[in-house]
Amino acid sequence: MQSARTPPPQASATTAIDVDAVSMRFTLRHTRSLKEMAVYALRGKDLSNSFDALDAVSLQVQQGETVGLLGFNGSGKSTLLKLISGVMRPTSGSVRVRGRIAGLIEVGAGFHPDLTGRENVYLNGAILGMEEATIRERFDDIVAFSEIERFIDTEVKHYSSGMFLRLAFAVAVHTDPEVFLIDEILAVGDEPFQRKCLEKVEALRAEGRTLVVVSHDLGLVERLCTRGVVLQHGRVIADTDAPAAVAALRATG
């Protein structure tokens, strides 16, 4: 099943991400306890209801493309990113990815407050798939990028939220993946650091990495992305260049 709108209908040798007719249905269970289940069953009520977060979404991203995923809250953007990163599996359809993926989906998810900054760099780097030698080699760059040299041996729980995010972002951008998934993290830190993050993302793009960006900052998407995909209620309603996609999103609002 191929969507007519998808530019190259078949995955080719340069496809980085191939999302083919993917649906994601969430089952919302109201209750789990035996007592409540019995009561529900006796009254003949349905125990669960479901909704489709994604409905037959097809999308192909070529290597080196920077794609902005646009849509209002609940349109399925984050679900799509989670499917691409492998955290979730689709209810139907298939997702395939070429090369190593790094999700900047929730920066700092692998951080532990009771470990020091240094320990967290190693732990998070390993979680994101780096080898010990690689982390050691890039450690100084990571710390320099985060600009928190003085506090690197302090437990992370004493960090300000800005410091925390800086370090987390620094680790993530140094993992050297082929495909980057970025979810709203460009709102990190103060303005100078944001600018630095943006420069880093632009550098990654210039290196030919594949980027998928989710952001509500439409100006940023227009500036950064070569292509925009608009999702609404789990369906792709536009797949075009970034300015046109932003216009399409504004038209639906």
Binding site: T15, A16, R32, Q63, L83, S85, R89, V97, L123, I127
Partner: protein, 301 residues
């Protein structure tokens, strides 16, 4: 646009489908960091720190020894009861801690499981490793205690102890994979496993001897019950540790209270083989179940 990075020239693969335990073996560095993290977090802001892992079994041991060895006078039936008790207890402690922690491993790491893909088998396996780290000093204490009681190492029984260790760790990993996956969907599992572990402690010949089980008239009339009892892999591991650490010491007693090989269960080596097979089956089943349920983790947690 510049050329894409050379490393990108792989195949299109489905993300989030790893090779299970093989991936864990491949990512040993991450495993070691997770183990270190768990140890650090467990003893954060604690004065005694890792010493707690000595204090707890120490007190537990003293209580058992006092209640069973002295008050109930089991020490009369079982020579060198102190070594007997301790060599069995550390096996059961290893099993309890490994399985208890592994069962909670996926739920306790919900934040990571929901947000980043990594081989999720890492979490229960890391819990089992933490239990092994706690087991090591207890084993050391056992070696010293047994040596004082007259124990001298013998090759074959020591190999038996290694087999017992392998049985316990494999079984705990297998059941840990199974229960940690199910626990993500039904939290009841945590409580069920706690119950199961209590049963496992008392059903293994840690606090008493297998001969006392065999002497129960009902068991004596139905010998298959005793076989069933002795095929429990945890029981096998406990008896293998008795053979390695307690039996040589008990043999070195002065004339009169010396024991012969009849204090060990017959067919121990056959049971060891069966225990290894059962543990391997548990590992295979646990891995298969884990992979089946894994796809739902991010939704259910």
């Amino acid at each position: 646009m510049t050329a894409p990075p050379a490393a990108a020239a792989g195949d299109l693969v489905v993300p989030g489908r790893g090779a299970g335990l093989l991936d864990v073996a491949r990512r040993r560095f991450l495993l070691s960091l997770l183990v270190r993290k768990e140890l650090r977090v467990r003893y954060r802001a604690s004065v005694l720190g890792l010493a707690w892992s000595y204090v707890k079994p120490g007190v537990q041991y003293l209580v058992y020894y006092l209640a069973l060895g002295i008050f109930l006078q089991l020490g009369r039936e079982i020579p060198d009861f102190a070594v007997y008790l301790f060599s069995g207890m550390i096996v059961v402690n290893l099993f309890s801690e490994a399985l208890g922690n592994a069962t909670r491993a996926v739920v306790n790491n919900a934040d990571l499981v929901k947000k980043i893909y990594l081989p999720r088998e890492l979490f229960p396996v890391a819990s089992v490793w933490v239990a092994i780290v706690h087991f090591a000093p207890q084993l050391l204490v056992l070696l010293v205690g047994a040596a004082i009681a007259g124990w001298r190492p013998q090759l074959l029984p020591l190999l038996g102890a290694v087999a017992g260790f392998v049985i316990v760790v494999t079984l705990a990993t297998g059941l840990g994979l199974l229960f940690s996956a199910l626990n993500a969907v039904f939290r009841d599992l945590e409580n069920l496993v706690d119950l199961l572990l209590m049963v496992a402690v008392w059903l293994s010949p840690v606090l008493y001897s297998w001969r006392q089980v065999a002497a129960v008239p009902f068991v004596a009339e139905n010998s298959w019950l005793l076989t069933l009892y002795q095929l429990n892999p945890v029981t096998v591991a406990v008896e293998l540790f008795h053979w390695a650490f307690w039996f040589p010491a008990a043999q070195n007693q002065p004339e009169g209270s010396r024991v012969g090989p009849e204090v060990l269960p017959p067919d121990l080596l056959w049971h060891a083989g069966a225990g290894l097979v059962l543990a391997a089956v548990a590992l295979a089943v646990g891995q298969a179940a884990f992979r089946r349920v894994e796809g739902r983790f991010a939704q259910e947690l």
